[in-house]
């Protein structure tokens, strides 16, 4: 079966299995030479593909228990964040950490140790995970947490599914009073003012910026910084709105076909970016936004990955340490703008502190860009890799589809330790993905 990640590049021919029970899963673990688990396929590249055996976890999708006193939810790994929101937001609970799509599984969120707009304050997904049940190469299920088998816990968060098959987890939800977010938009004419806005907003619960990656000269790094807080009942205009968490599900757009490759050329993106910036700059101040539009604007366009055409697209996401962030971001944006390569979705975000064995975030700034796959952008990505490494940065494996093993090692001194840990625990041979082979993990 042809498999790819959300970026639709690369496309690989892979054998897939969909076990329906722990016993069926164990049989696969004990009989297949190499395999990797796959959740909802939202990693952009080849993280969740193994050509000889990709184990789809869609049948492990049951919720097991919820404790309203602590907000702890126990669920199987294939449960989507969207399922959790559908079930628990009406009762006043929301995921503590969520990435920009609700179509990720709990297993995937753990494997990539995803982050959200509150990373600067609350940390990565790890922060909401109490424990994980994981099946090892011997078919045994181990429960790991900060106290119990902490090494396995540390390496599983951010371990890209390479430490075993995540079966179940206990995660904490946050109590919320309403389904609304108070959003404040700050128009930042350049990178320095965008970064200043982030630094001034360290106390905001959520912060993220849309950045115009084609802005050059004085416009370099022109951004809309968006801050958010969970609205309380008293913030809402009517008592009625508070009593009900139900927000009518909006009509979903869907992209019915692959756009031709030239659709998102530099000119169109340039025009879009200008219009978007000025539209955003005009609605300065505070607005009430529903949770779905605030956290998951792109989920409203089903299959948005098709706008990049049949060849797919590649994401670039790096994190830069605080000290070198401004210089690094300036170099990255200058290079992108010079290449005139239109990145439609460009996101800048301040990261807070992060303590973990192999997770992506580090205190500083993260920049995410995406490009249609073609020779020109692949060459640009190589240059962006180099700038990142030169500024002490590292890369998000959940987005990667084309980096080399050498680049990864140059960027991240933790790689060899992670690999050694996998070897010593007998996990390195069985648990492999196309990405782990490419990156020699």
């Amino acid at each position: 079966m042809k498999l790819s990640g959300w970026g639709r590049y690369p496309v690989l021919d892979a054998r897939t299995y969909r076990p329906r029970s722990v016993d069926a899963l164990r049989d696969l673990v004990l009989s297949e030479p190499h395999l990797v688990a796959r959740g909802n396929g939202r990693a952009y590249g080849d993280s969740a593909i193994n050509t000889s055996a990709t184990i789809e976890t869609q049948h492990f999708n049951r919720m097991i228990a919820f404790d309203p006193d602590t907000g702890q939810l126990v669920a199987e790994a294939g449960v989507l964040l969207g399922d959790i929101i559908a079930a628990f937001l009406p009762r006043g609970w929301f995921p503590r950490v969520t990435p920009g799509t609700k179509f990720v599984t709990i297993g995937g969120a753990i494997a990539a140790d995803v982050h959200g707009k509150n990373h600067h304050k609350d940390g990565s997904f790890r922060a909401c995970v109490d424990w994980i049940d994981i099946m090892g190469a011997d078919g045994e299920i181990r429960r790991c947490s900060r106290e119990e088998d902490a090494t396995l816990f540390d390496h599983t968060l951010g371990g890209m599914g390479l430490t075993g098959i995540i079966l179940r987890a206990a995660i904490r939800l946050r109590p919320v009073e309403t389904a609304w977010i108070r959003q404040t938009t700050i128009a930042a004419p350049n990178l320095q003012s965008a970064m200043a806005a982030f630094e001034a907003a360290q106390d905001a619960t959520y912060s993220v910026a849309w950045i115009d990656c084609l802005g050059a000269g004085g416009n370099l790094g022109r951004s809309l910084v968006m801050l958010g807080e969970h609205a309380e009942c008293s913030d809402l205009p009517s008592v009625q709105a508070c009593a009900s968490f139900n927000i009518k599900s909006k009509r979903k757009l869907s992209i019915p076909l692959d756009f031709p490759a030239f659709t998102l050329n530099g000119l169109i993106v340039r025009v879009f970016n200008s219009l978007y910036y000025w539209a955003g700059a005009r609605k300065k101040g505070e607005q009430l936004v529903d949770w779905d539009s605030y956290f998951y604007p792109l989920d409203a366009i089903l299959g948005w990955n098709r706008i990049y055409g049949r060849k797919g697209f590649a994401q670039f996401q790096c994190a830069l340490p605080l000290q070198q962030a401004e210089a690094g971001l300036t170099a990255l944006l200058t290079e992108t703008s010079k290449a005139g390569a239109g990145s439609f979705l460009a996101v800048l975000k301040r990261f807070g502190k992060q303590n973990s064995a192999f997770s992506f975030p580090m205190e500083g700034y993260t920049l995410a860009l995406d490009f249609p796959v073609n020779a020109k952008s692949l060459a640009l990505l190589e240059r962006l890799d180099k700038i990142t490494v030169d500024h002490g940065g590292r890369f998000y494996l959940a987005k990667d589809s084309r980096m080399t093993a050498a680049t990864l090692r140059a960027s991240d001194p933790r790689v060899d330790g992670f690999k050694a840990q996998r070897k010593s625990q007998g996990l390195a041979t069985l648990f492999q993905s196309a990405q782990s082979e490419r990156l020699d993990l």
Binding site: R62, M63, I64, D83, A86
Partner: protein, 245 residues
């Protein structure tokens, strides 16, 4: 306000599960019936957590027809909607040679489902309301070399549901016949099915819930199947017998 109640027969099947989730999401309390019902405990917990509705488990063997009256009498409450998703495809090649296997397929798709529907129909008729939903198959619309054992039993079930609907239409009881077409389930796993014609179990569940609400009679998961079956039913037998479909 008491919640309406739905009974799912064959609750371990993918379509049965999807229908249980759908009705629970609409606020129905759920009765799950299957063999070894206690193994459905995780599904019970899942549905209760997701939709905050009560779920009960009931031991039910479609082939033990002599137990069906006692099964219905033994339900804590007679449901408003009963969905029968019991079925067994088997393998045609086996069914052709192994008569015991063929009889099992016939009984699982016709005798068992018709028996339990008959018992429920009488209870619903006595009460004067309710909806019966039978999941049959497009395979029952015309016998084909590739699965006529399964198809013939489904044809029997479809005819049974049609007769039941005719009998009960003036007695306040509605009967829905579901001919899903291809569905991506455990039954069809590994088959090479055309994507455009293949529904997800959740699509089937949505269609069933809509049909119950709007009192539809015969439904397909995807509308295109109505056209396909119209065409297939009308091919002259002299031509059909030579076709490979």
């Amino acid at each position: 306000m008491t919640k309406p109640l739905v009974l799912i027969l064959g609750a371990r099947s993918d379509i049965g599960k999807a229908v249980a989730h759908k009705f629970a999401s609409l606020g129905y309390a759920v009765q799950l019936a299957a063999r070894n019902a206690s193994t459905l405990d995780p599904d019970k917990a899942d549905i209760e957590l997701r939709y905050a509705v009560p779920v009960t488990l009931h031991e039910f063997d479609a082939l033990a027809t002599e137990t069906h009256e006692a099964f219905v009498m033994g339900l804590p409450k007679l449901p408003m909607v009963a969905v029968c998703a019991v079925g067994l495809m088997g393998q045609q090649a086996v069914n052709e040679r192994d008569i015991a296997a063929a009889v099992r397929v016939m009984r699982s798709n016709y005798e068992g489902p018709a028996s339990i529907m008959a018992v429920l129909a009488n209870s619903f008729e006595e009460r004067g309301n309710g909806t019966l939903v039978g999941v049959s198959s497009v395979a029952g619309e015309r016998g084909r070399a590739t699965n006529y054992v399964y198809g013939s039993a489904k044809a029997g079930f479809t005819a049974f549901l049609s007769g039941l609907r005719n009998r009960l239409s003036k007695r306040g009881v509605h009967v829905v016949t579901v001919l899903p077409g291809f569905v991506a389930t455990q039954m069809t796993e590994g088959m090479d099915l055309p994507a455009k014609l293949t529904a997800d179990p959740r699509e089937v569940a949505d269609t069933i819930a809509r049909a119950v609400e709007r009192k539809k009679d015969v439904i397909y998961a995807r509308p295109v199947w109505r056209m396909i079956m119209l065409f297939i039913r009308n091919i002259p037998e002299s031509i059909f017998k030579r076709m490979k479909i």
